[in-house]
């Protein structure tokens, strides 16, 4: 085990009064957060992201939602919201850490004792950096139709196939993926959740350039990749349920209004810098988007509270995802629209930083596609919540 001795000082942050917790975290961020992490419209990735998480880790601010027994901060929902609000206030760049948000909680729930011991500390200290292998070229929204195969051979599984949209796979040390271990009538059966090291022979990563010009997404090819059977999480053939076991904070996160808030701030700065905030079109769009953001924030808060009561507001989570991501898009559209010629040019200096209109506009596009597209969410809500007929 390689737990950094500086961390998990044993302090129970959740026991602090809200205002004190807020003040402590705010002060810490002010004192320790490096300047290059304070670029809210940018995504922090790779080595810099890992360094930032290590810094949080050394000072006991890592993995706020994880229980303390697993080395996290063990914060309850109201504190998690404060934590998030303070990150937002300090204008911290957006980060993606699939180990913290996805794999860790899954292992806590369904992993073996050995898997937890092996992986959880390494997620916390960033020795391991995880990516996800779910989607395939012909299995996007219809994920359960996935075809990447894993054949049992002695104590191992041999994986063959292709995954796509694996974010930051080129930087990852490990991958958690869904593979087909049997073909049965119900396509959700016969899927298995398995862990692999990216350095395993037979894995090839090919980055994909997206519309924002970044190479976040990757194609990952699996060619006779040998993985020990002890890397299966949950039971063989029950991987679909394992991948769906993430509820609560992980799903709340995807409907967080944070991206919208960042974009709204950028829109506000643009209005000032370009001298258009007094114009009627700007004022109208600004007022409308502000009001809508308020409503999304209220729904976010309420959904978080219901989650905190130990309930599973699955319909609210789906509605929140639709509302938050579509609002984020509308803000970036207004930005592009109002900025005139500056829109396609892109970068507009704002103080010591800049707003990249093009990049925000493009960053907002996939928000309504990943994590269950807006249309898939609507299909689900129409059946599950409104009970509309299928005929």
């Amino acid at each position: 085990m390689s737990v950094d001795p500086c961390t998990n000082t044993g302090e129970d942050f959740d026991a602090l009064p809200d205002h004190e917790f807020r003040a402590r975290f705010r002060r810490w961020l002010e004192q320790h957060c490096p300047a290059d992490v304070r670029r809210p419209a940018h995504r922090l990735r790779g080595q810099r992201a890992r360094e930032w998480f290590r810094l949080l880790y050394r000072h006991g601010w890592r993995a706020p939602a994880w229980p303390r027994e697993h080395g996290g901060m063990g914060l309850s929902i109201p504190k998690l919201i404060i934590y998030d609000e303070e990150l937002d206030r300090a204008q911290i760049s957006r980060t993606v850490d699939m180990g913290e948000t996805h794999l860790g909680p899954t292992l806590m729930k369904l992993g073996t004792e050995e898997q937890r011991r092996l992986y959880l500390p390494s997620i916390l200290n960033c020795e391991h950096w995880w990516c996800q292998g779910y989607s395939e070229p012909n299995s996007g929204s219809d994920l359960a139709s996935l075809k990447t195969r894993a054949e049992k051979e002695g104590d191992d599984f041999i994986i063959n196939g292709q995954k796509i949209w694996s974010s930051f796979a080129a930087e990852a040390t490990h991958v958690f993926l869904l593979v087909r271990t049997s073909t049965e009538a119900v396509k959700q059966r016969g899927i298995t959740f398995i862990l692999a090291e990216m350095s395993t022979p037979g894995i090839t990563v090919k980055p994909i350039i997206n519309l924002a010009g970044d190479d976040d997404f990757c194609e990952v090819f699996y060619d006779n990749v040998r993985v020990p059977a002890r890397n299966v999480v949950g039971r063989v053939g029950e991987g679909w349920a394992v991948s769906r076991s993430l509820l609560g904070m992980e799903r709340l996160f995807i409907g967080s209004p944070r991206n919208s808030q960042i974009a709204m701030r950028a829109l506000h700065s643009l209005g000032e810098v370009l001298g258009i905030s007094g114009e009627r079109a700007f004022a109208t769009a600004w007022a409308e988007l502000s009001l809508e953001l308020h409503a999304v924030q209220c729904l976010y808060r309420e959904t978080a509270r219901v989650l905190g009561q130990g309930l599973n507001p699955e319909n609210e989570l789906s509605m929140l995802k639709i509302a938050a991501t579509e609002h984020f898009q509308r803000v970036t559209e207004a930005m592009m629209d109002l900025a005139g010629e500056y829109g396609p040019i892109g970068e507009v200096p704002v103080g010591s930083d800049s707003v990249d209109i093009r990049q925000l506009y493009m960053l907002a596009r996939p928000a309504t596609i990943y994590g269950g597209s807006s249309e898939i969410q609507r299909n689900i809500l129409s059946r599950r919540m409104l009970k509309l007929p299928n005929d």
């Binding site: 308020h294 509302a323 007929p389 299928n390």
Partner: protein, 386 residues
Amino acid sequence: MGIMAAEASTVAGESGRMVRDGARGFVSAHHSMKRVRQVRTAEAGYSREVWTALAEAGWLGLRIPESLGGAGMGMAEVAALCDVFGEVLLPEPYIACGLIPCALLAGCANAPLRERLMHGVINGQQVLTVAWQEAPFHFHAGQCELTLSGEAESLRLHGGKRFVPAAVNADGYIVSVMHAGRFALVHVPASESASGITLHAHRLIDGSVCADLGFSDVKISASDILAEGEAARELIESAVGEATLAACAMLNAVADRALAIAVDYMGKRVQFGKHIGSFQALQHRAVDLAVRCALARAALNRALEEHAAGSTRAAADLSAAKAICSRTATLVTRSAIQLHGGIGYTDECDIGLYLKSALCHAAWLGGANAHGTRYMALRSAVEQPA
């Protein structure tokens, strides 16, 4: 969506559930959708009999302290009550003639006047309505120009008020005035109409009635002054603020119920050999409306919470809620007509009644634009967390 609304309005908790159950019992005993059409020809726009029953069941004094003969409940319970009244389009003016006048009487410093009027108002024998608005688009209840002139024994009221809800057949009015340069609230009995009160009624699209009132040298007794100065201003602003929250609850209930009716219809109506509710285009429309309903409900719950806490952002959140709920209810109810198709355009079909109710509640106490503007002006105080 009604499906969640009943469960998700957790703000009031157990007491809210009790209010809701009790109100449902009242409604099933005294109300039917037929009445919503009948009141269109009723002079007052509602039934005085049902009003009395409403009073006798104790609903009018819900928010009044127990020491003054009420039930001592908060705005969350009032919102739960409006949830039930809104979903069945109860025509009786609970907010205008129950909630607001009761709040003014309960909070006023003139104890003898309170004693004289409160009992009758809670019992339903005296219907009071509050006249504070003087111009369209004006919803600052603490500002007015109508002047009460003269001294103690010779007080005279001269001027007018507009859009006074449920003014026809009211037994009296509580009127905001300027008296000797100070804001004040006075009680004006309607029996004085022989001596100088004129009433010009407007029938609203939902069948309710409001009126423009004219006062021509109406004699006022000094004992009828409820409150004066800053206290009077705070009193009416607070009462109208609470009424606005209640109106939001009505709007949400109207929207939720209209969507539930449309969704139900989509599961029954067959075209092209299929239930129209199985068509994805319609399903997605319905879901979008449900999302709007959930957002509006969350905005109201937030406003109720901040109101109860007396927080600095209460006023901004109230305006945000009224803007959002007004816009949502009109969007959802008119979309519900579209989801019905041709039948939705008939007077026979209930869905149109929901649109009409939404239009009235959306415009009353400041519409989406007015409150949206006010929210933008107030939100700067909100944006910076402590």
